[in-house]
């Protein structure tokens, strides 16, 4: 009786834990991409059916929505280029700067317009006009797949 009571359950082997965690780590490293910029404007993407996957390599993002820290009732739309909110007029400089760093022409990039679904079309048209002036004619309206 006394002998039995003293018998202990052997400790669980944890030697495979690093392997498992490393596998998880590699999965996430392969399946994800680095977050490049912090969002400053709130963008709720609209839903659509006829959308395609976009190639990240030549994609340039432009955000448009209400600022994150907007006071209640304030509904001015802001445009975010890179990591700061800017004006519509800055788009042309932004495009030329981005294409210069990427080593691409303005015609080789696709400008991804991440526009909030509650935004008005007028402001979007102003952005598109600037993009036409910048000769960045390939655009895409960012949208999520409709369920």
């Amino acid at each position: 009786m006394a002998k039995k009571g003293k018998r202990e359950v052997p400790a669980m082997s944890t030697s495979s834990l690093p392997d498992i965690v490393f596998m998880l780590l590699f999965f996430f490293m392969a399946a994800t991409t680095m977050r490049e910029v912090d969002p400053l404007v709130k963008v709720q993407m609209p839903q659509a059916n006829e959308i395609t996957e976009l190639d990240k390599k030549n994609l340039v993002n432009i955000w448009m929505g209400k600022p994150m820290n907007a006071a209640k009732g304030e509904d001015a739309l802001k445009i975010q280029l890179n990591d700061k909110t800017q004006e519509v007029e800055d788009i042309r400089n932004f495009i030329s700067a981005t294409t210069a760093t990427k080593g691409l022409g303005p015609k080789d990039i696709v400008v991804n317009l991440r526009v909030d679904k509650e935004a008005t079309v007028g402001k979007l048209t102003a952005v598109k006009q600037e993009l036409r002036k910048a000769d960045a004619l390939s655009i895409s309206y960012a949208a999520m797949q409709n369920e």
Binding site: L17, V21, L24, R35, A48, K117, S138, Y141, N146
Partner: protein
């Protein structure tokens, strides 16, 4: 001699799990997994307004005018559409059906003989002119764009079946590019000043 037999002590690897956990959490926090998806469009090149404008002549019969107003109603030609007409039932919405029939039902004279894979096919020259009020909602605007794209894709599917005998989705890249070239997505997104002109 006795020294040579002494084994090097093993490295304690119990902290390995902790280190890799830290790395894992770091990657979980700093990365995103979302895939960028969107609707592709090509803008017309910029024309300086001070320059003499020679508008491209488009036959009125080939143009379907779609107008989105600020209260969310949509005019297609002379007919009024509501938000419910953008909702799909049975795979198509009322708007996409209408635009698709506009492309299909055009007279022969309004169809251009287009060469695809060495043979000629009559392809509609239909163009959709999309105008939206500056105060209209982007959500509705994109929904309309979605339905227009759907109509053009349906028409491409038809042509693909004529040429290759299979649907547009089943074509390989080159064949799909041929179809895209023959049936361009002619959706003209009107400029803002166009609205005051007419």
């Amino acid at each position: 001699m006795a020294r040579a037999k002494k084994k090097a002590g093993e490295i304690n690897s119990s902290s390995m799990a902790d280190i890799s956990f830290l790395l894992l959490i770091f990657f979980l926090v700093t990365t995103t997994m979302d895939v960028d998806t969107g609707m592709k469009r090509t803008l017309p090149p910029w024309i300086d307004p001070t320059e003499q404008q020679n508008d491209v002549d488009v036959n009125e019969r080939n143009v379907l005018k779609v107008n989105v107003s600020r209260n969310g109603s949509i005019m297609v030609g002379t007919e009024e559409y509501r938000a419910s007409d953008l909702k799909r039932s049975g795979g198509h919405s009322r708007l996409s059906r209408e635009v698709y029939h506009f492309l299909v039902d055009q007279d022969k004279s309004n169809k251009k003989a287009t060469e695809i894979e060495g043979a000629k096919y009559n392809v509609s020259e239909g163009l959709v002119s999309l105008k939206a009020d500056n105060e209209s909602k982007y959500k509705i605007y994109l929904q309309v764009q979605d339905e227009l794209t759907h109509a053009f894709n349906l028409y491409r599917d038809d042509i693909a079946r004529l040429v290759y005998g299979v649907g547009y989705d089943e074509l390989d890249d080159i064949q799909a590019a041929n179809i895209r070239k023959a049936v361009p997505m002619k959706i003209s997104e009107a400029e803002p000043n166009d609205q005051t002109k007419k």
